[in-house]
Amino acid sequence: MLWVDKYRPKTLDKVIVHQDVAQNLRKLVSEGDCPHLLFYGPPGSGKKTLIMALLRQIFGPSADKVKVENKIWKVDAGTRTIDVELTTLSSTHHVELNPSDAGFQDRYVVQEIIKEMAKNRPIDTKGKKGFKVLVLNEVDKLSREAQHSLRRTMEKYSASCRLILCSNSSSKVTEAVRSRCLNVRINAPMEEEIVSVLEFIAKKEGLQFPQGFAARIVEKSNRNLRRAVLTFESCRVQQYPFTNNQTVPPMDWEQYVSEIASDIMKEQSPKRLFEVRGKLYELLTNCIPPEIILKRLLFELLKKLDSELKHEVTNWAAHYEHRMRLGQKAIFHLEAFVAKFMSIYKSFLISTFG
């Protein structure tokens, strides 16, 4: 079992970071009821962990017994019926799904699944009808229509079902949905907090590390807790006992992007552009999301540039990322950015050095 899963806190009492949020959540559900919730925060900050712990707090240990189901939903959409296939993760008390997997049919899925949940409501120990919880991941990827249809559904079935929404940024969730939920912001843990988590894990595993080693891992992790733990584990596999000068392995794709960056800094020509395209393709085929590549590339380039060029390059990066979102094929826009950068840089060199 990976350490990330092994040391994921199971209850609200056991969380190490975000203790204040956990406290508040516990107070919130102390009467066995909760409003609709929207968790938002950057990746690796502990949204999912808090949600799972919260479910356990409400329903007890039975919320942990989950089964994976692959279900085909038959949806009646006016004139025709559509089959939507979706994987859900469910226990007796909750259902969890990624509605954005269904692509543009997501709005049918959301409505259908909530209706179904409303139909068979669980009965709690006192014989009263309880409620089920629907956990929706990546709501920011949900289409506008789906979000609009959510708002009425949320009110209509509020007696039998609670929604817990989880997203990376709350700007992409419509105001109407946001105002119907209790918003919980989860910030990325501070570096000291991550260090304390790593120390906790090390103690449990019986490992010892030299002074400053944890801090080095954390520095590379960009305040992403999950990544810090993963890196820590891979260091353990690489070499134990840890030595003071052990290098923390960077992610291989990041290294690759930084190679691309130094490639285009060295030479600006169509031939180099062609080579870079091959490398970009390789990143894409390895399922690195294009916007991450672009961001990383910008990050690497900004490190090397003069300050007067920084503004311009940033502007174009934002421009091409926006285009990429509107367009369909990411490689065009990545390449366009690289080409634009080459042209800017070359004319900069010519005007400075002649």
């Binding site: 009821d33 409003p35 700007s171 910030n187 305040r223 900004l302 920084k310 311009e312 502007n315 934002a318």
Partner: protein, 339 residues
């Protein structure tokens, strides 16, 4: 289920005014509608104004007061944006409902005028076609049906429809009136709210009473019965002023790497960038030492970034871009790209 329902009922619904005269701060509408109650006669109505000023509340209240609970179902048709409202619905559902004539059978103290009411909530999200299809329907059945349109932007209602209605603008609520409503709710719910928290609540909700009440309820659920200004800010998703100031002063410093660091920080803290933009904008417009030309240049960039965010562009890049061009404008770097 009853007790659970009780606690989970939103306060917005619980404290929705039941009578027209309880609607706060919208005097003209209230006067016209009280008149309606006496004379049992009213024109088609068009309510417009920003969210949370009581448009839907007024429409529902007048309908309830005219017909009472028994006749309400048969006399009032309420459609909002989440119901299907394409041209087909206008042609069938609305027309069928509008066509059936009714008599005036007075009973149990309600005026019960001889017409029906169709409330079209969020009418600005209706398609042009659907609005066009309504024109003739409105006139043909004007004897038996009154239409109430409710919308945020009157410019999205086609002119022929708007000219058939009596228009009423709903004003944003001023702080005192909002404060008195909030205090009333606090008293009913047994909450403790100091004056600082009250003024914070008024300022973050910007004249939108519904939003203020929602924030209040969220805060009450999370933090218990005594609520401070800081806790209100944390539930409302408003970014603390220090963070916004930090970005702004980083832009003033002209140091790109510093700005980059601040932007990274904002993203890691999980603050929504669209909110960030609107708060930055407030600071920018109020700043005295920035020339109008600079402001104009920066605002243009804000607008572009906002559009990009709506399209779903990456938050980090957009915010960084805004920061970088603000910096350029403040240090009067040439507007055109150098290379």
């Amino acid at each position: 289920m009853a007790p659970v329902m009780q606690s989970s009922q939103p306060w917005v619904e619980k404290y929705r005014p039941k009578q027209v005269k309880d609607v706060a701060h919208q005097d003209e509408v209230v006067r016209v509608l009280t008149n309606t109650l006496e004379t049992s006669n009213c024109p088609h109505m068009l309510f417009y104004g920003p969210p949370g000023t009581g448009k839907t509340t007024t429409a529902l209240a007048i309908a309830h007061q005219l017909f009472g609970p028994e006749l309400y179902k048969s006399r009032v048709l309420e459609l909002n944006a989440s119901d299907d409202r394409g041209i087909n619905v206008v042609r069938t559902k609305i027309k069928n409902f509008a066509a059936v004539a009714v008599g005036s059978n007075r009973q149990s103290g309600y005026p019960c005028p001889p017409f029906k009411i169709i409330i079209l909530d969020e009418a600005d999200s209706m398609t042009q076609d659907a609005q066009n299809a309504l024109r003739r329907t409105m006139e043909t059945y004007s004897k038996v049906t009154r239409f109430f349109f409710i919308c945020n932007y009157i410019s999205r209602i086609i002119e022929p429809l708007a000219s058939r209605c009596a228009k009423f603008r709903f004003k944003p609520l001023p702080e005192e009136i909002m404060g008195s409503r909030i205090l009333h709710i606090c008293k009913e719910e047994g909450l403790n709210l100091d004056s600082e928290a009250l003024s914070t609540l008024s300022s973050i909700s910007q004249g939108d009473l519904r939003r203020a009440i929602t924030y209040l309820q969220s805060a009450a659920r999370l933090f218990g019965s005594s609520i401070s200004a800081k806790e209100l800010i944390s539930v409302s998703g408003v970014i603390p002023n220090e963070v916004v100031q930090a970005i702004f002063s980083a832009c003033r410093s002209g140091n790109f790497d510093l700005a980059n660091k601040e932007v990274n920080n904002v993203i890691a803290e999980g603050y929504p960038v669209s909110q960030m933009l609107s708060q930055l904008y407030d600071i920018l417009v109020d700043a005295d030492d920035i020339s109008d030309e600079q402001k104009a240049r920066i605002c243009k960039k804000f607008a572009e970034a906002d559009k990009c965010l709506v399209d779903g562009a990456d938050e980090y890049l957009q915010l960084l871009n805004v920061a970088s061009s603000t910096m350029q404008a403040l240090s009067n770097m040439p507007q055109d790209m150098t290379f």
